[in-house]
Amino acid sequence: MGLKEKVQDLLGNDILDIVEYRGDLTIEVPKSKNVKILKALKEAEGLQFDFLVDIVGVDNSALYEKKKAKKKKPKGDEEAEEKEPVEEGPPPPRFEVIYLLLALSTNERLRVKIRVSEDDLEVDSITGLWRGANWPEREVYDMFGIRFKGHPNLKRLLMWEGFPAHPLRKDYPLEGQGEQRDFDDCRFF
């Protein structure tokens, strides 16, 4: 039984989406069940994803805007419009949080993805499962503003305290907005 079947067996209906690309398995799960599912993956016999490699955040807003612009573009070309079915309904959630897991005994890897919408930026912390999730979660909070409920020390990790924005969001300019760390008392000129 392959990894895909094992994961499907274990999680059943909790899997919203499962993609295998060049041997790498990615599953998407509901945001509210992230702790439960990760605990199951960590402890299940035969899987034992016991090592948390990293937690990363993704801001998909630019991707969605690109797709939107692409759909509008072909005016005279009706064939192109037919090929891409117009998706109706609410726009997909803006952010993603991705957990990268590794099973040390079998050397298998798994990506677990949850989607986080902009109006509900709270995710349950998994520091109870892996203490090493502490800093990655702080980094995601720093860069994207996603808050982790139950985190013991949710402060900015990379930017200084009091930094006003979340710089890896797509609507944040690369060169910043002129933020300076307050060092008036030590400015020379």
Partner: protein, 166 residues
Amino acid sequence: MGLQAYTGPGWLLTKAEQLINWGRSRSPWPLPYGTACCGIEMMCALAASYDMARFGAERPSFSPRQADVLIEAGTITKKMVPVLRRIYDQMAEPKWVIAMGACACTGGVFRTYSTHQGISDVIPVDVYIPGCPPRPEGLLYALLKLMDKIQKDHPLRKQVVEALGG
């Protein structure tokens, strides 16, 4: 004539300054402040094959109190700025600064929210070294330039002017 020795460029005064400058320029003890890849080049310049000790930079001082030249080698992030300033303030006079590499001079390729665009508005810089990163020869050249600058200094004149009441 004795007074002239203190007000004009008298013989005794000039010689004393030369002596001080000679001593200072021949022992510019560096404080290595490597924050990025320039730091690797700086280590290379300090180590055996380039041997910065030939020019009197004998002892890389990791304590700012015993250092003369701050070699700022690498990117300074905005979070790092107060640290750099504090290190500089802890150095005893006289002190000089070499800004090594594009990042220290101007921010380099990192025109981003997190990088300070050049250290010259935080601390005064004596010698800039361009390059990304500069070769160790570049650092040695900058050190020689700094030694030239130190030799043109007037360490006593300022004190005499102060002693005579401005």
